[in-house]
């Protein structure tokens, strides 16, 4: 049971992630892009950030970089949801401070299993 901030600009993905994580017993906070997520993250603390990469306003990599800069998110696991298979994107994410990534498309079981790896 962890409090998870899930960030994605796609409604359907957000719904799926929320439903899946809640079914797995987690608490979920949603945001639709990096800017909104950053605001949410500043006003409350979460145990894990799960973010899409390509989003309007602020992308996931920038979000991760911004969050890592905050004292409260220094060690918080942050996972990118990405369709980019190119190593560069992952490297960019790592450089920004991402803990790891989940490659889209993913199914609910994969999502829950991956999250189990970085919490607790």
């Amino acid at each position: 049971m962890a409090k998870i901030l899930a960030v994605d600009d796609s409604v359907s993905i957000r719904q799926m992630v929320e439903f899946t994580l809640k079914s797995a017993g987690h608490e979920v906070v949603l945001a639709t892009d990096g800017t909104e997520a950053l605001d949410v993250a500043k006003t409350r603390s979460v145990d894990l950030v799960l973010t899409d990469v390509n989003m309007p306003q602020m992308d996931g990599i920038t979000l991760i970089r911004e969050l890592r800069g905050l004292a409260t998110y220094k060690f918080t696991p942050m996972l990118m949801l990405t369709t980019e298979s190119s190593p560069e994107k992952k490297q960019q994410g790592k450089a920004a401070g991402a803990t790891g990534w989940i490659v889209k498309p993913f199914n609910p079981d994969q999502l829950v299993a991956t999250i189990a790896r970085v919490i607790g």
Binding site: S12, N54, S85, P105, T114
Partner: protein
Amino acid sequence: MSIDLSQFHQSFFEESSERLQEMETALLALDPAAPDEELINTIFRSAHSIKGAAGTFGFTDIGEFTHLLETLLEEVREASRTIDDDAVSTLLESVDCLKVLLDAERDGTDKDHEQIDTLAQALRELIEGEGAGGDPAPVTDEGAAPAEPAAPDEACFEVRFAPHTQLLITGNEPIRLIRELGRNATATAQVHPATIPAFASLDPVECHLAWTIRVQGDVTEEAIREVFEWVEDECDLEVENLTAAAPTDANDTKDETDSAAAPTPASEAAPAETPVESAPETAVAEPSATPVSDPAPAPDKAPVAEKAAKPAAPTDAKKAAPKAPASASAPSKPKETSIRVGIEKIDDIINIVGELVITQSMLSEVGEDFDMSRIENLKSGLVQLQRNTRDLQEAAMRIRMLPIGFAFQRFPRMVRDLAKKLGKQIRLELSGEQTELDKTVMEQIGDPLVHIVRNAVDHAIELPDERTASGKNPEGTIHLSASHQGGNILIQISDDGRGLDTEKILGKAIERGLVDPSEASELDESAIFRLIFAPGFSTAEAVSDLSGRGVGMDVVRRNIKELGGSVDVHSELGKGTKITISLPLTLAILDGQLVRVGDQIYVVPLVSIVESLQIAADNYNRIGRNGEVYNIRNEYIQIVRLHDAFGIPTSSDDIMGKLMVVVEDNSGKAGIVVDDLLAQQQVVIKSLETNFQKVLGLAGATILGDGTVALIIDVEGLIRLSKTTPHKTPRAASTEEPAAEGGAE
């Protein structure tokens, strides 16, 4: 955990349609010569988002197709490729194709694989043509190619894991990694406090430990390395296979940095542009789930396996195109329609309902032990109730209101395609897209608008040469605008084309027998323009495949009439044409003027009323035997006696001093003689056709506050009706007919 993904499909379809619309809009706005970065980003993001979600929800065809789009767009975005007009066209076609695919998935109908494959091929050619090599082979990922031979049940590995000092600051924890190793096997870890610095110089966020972990069980080296995938650059990792009967796997001691990320040249790995990229990557799969010899990473990814087989022969994609098994012959499901409503509209309603509840409790308190002293309370409660009801009604109506931009959004694309086909240069300007109108009205105005815009493109705007010759900008402009005017919405379609030629129109109208040659000279300009709406009239000199589809402007006008609207045209030869459509905001409610005729009450739509006046003998004129006209400020208008039109008995035939309501319609003005003017109020329209039949001169019926039924007058129909049943003098005032029958001829 089993989660039924189909519950998210509806969201996916809606969202994807919106994305496609965004893509189309952005593509149309894109200037290939100087592509706007933000537009490219929008287009890319849309494709990207559809791809990600499509894959997740198992729509492999869509995912596959959008991957091609995305690859192409990525190159454009990275500026490693230029984009030209043809590429934009191909992208637009791809958007169309995706729309079809989405519909097919939603309705469970067959997909047109031929079209998909043709387009996919065109995209591949675009990608290969220029950016070849720039695209990193996305297919081959470590997870996709389990090159590892079948592992024995009991394998044993020694993992030497030495994190770099910075490992912790990405949120990774050695302990979690070790725990993960032990998830499906037995892991025994031994820590090496090798390089812990002196306490004084110890930075608590740095990691100075190293571990040796012995993993025993049903594991593969592949699975072990996968656990460390996220930290491969932040640690030194060695995996040694200690299994006695270790199969020949040379990778044992190889450094992780190259083995994990290297593409695997496995046989099913496809050429660079194939769309399977992310699917097989099992970064998140349970280590034990890593299959041994099957290219599909996990059993629930069966469609991916199918897909993996396909790109092996990208040039011969047709035969390999996999078919979603369920879609083959499934009957088409009824479309679920939904609208998005802004949360503030819902909040409004909740608010009003709250007030309604307060009013209700106030009234019931008044009613509890009522006596005349409380009549004032009752009155004010009723006033409040009236206000609440009206507010609630308005708020509820607003839910159905959508910005007209939804109806406009198809035009940029349509105009672009038509103009290209005709060799014309046309710029489409839109304004007032935020103007809201009822969803039903919007759905029904779509086709008439298409027809008018198509006409403008096809007939009104000249070819560039012709425009230049007449001193105009070679690029023609069509302007679509919407605005509110009272209770109506005005939609204007104006162009700067050749304009309407009154002589030509008149000539054609006479030729078609629409106008009597003897009357021709009496028609003024606007009357001539209105002829284009007459049935059987078409100004197109040759029937073109664009406009001349047998649907004329008469159908356009009829459709608009049926919506309770009107259409008008203004034109100046050589300068352009402006068509103005006026529509009611909603079909359900009408602002009406209640009038009394005999003992009947009728409702006249307020929008058609110009003025009301008392008939004065000086201005009354009789024309011929049956015609009556009235002179209002030197304009002669026809008099319509409702008594006659609807066969209502009247005490006196003399109309002098009576009231006349002057109404205006497309066909002109008319004065309706009534006995009394009553209140103005909003009435809810009930259709006559549903329960009875269409009656000329009547638009419907409504129920008044006292429960009586009042008929709503259709002004245009009434004018026509009165022409066929002229007032006869002296009147044979005897037959008593029910009101409706007078019009049922």
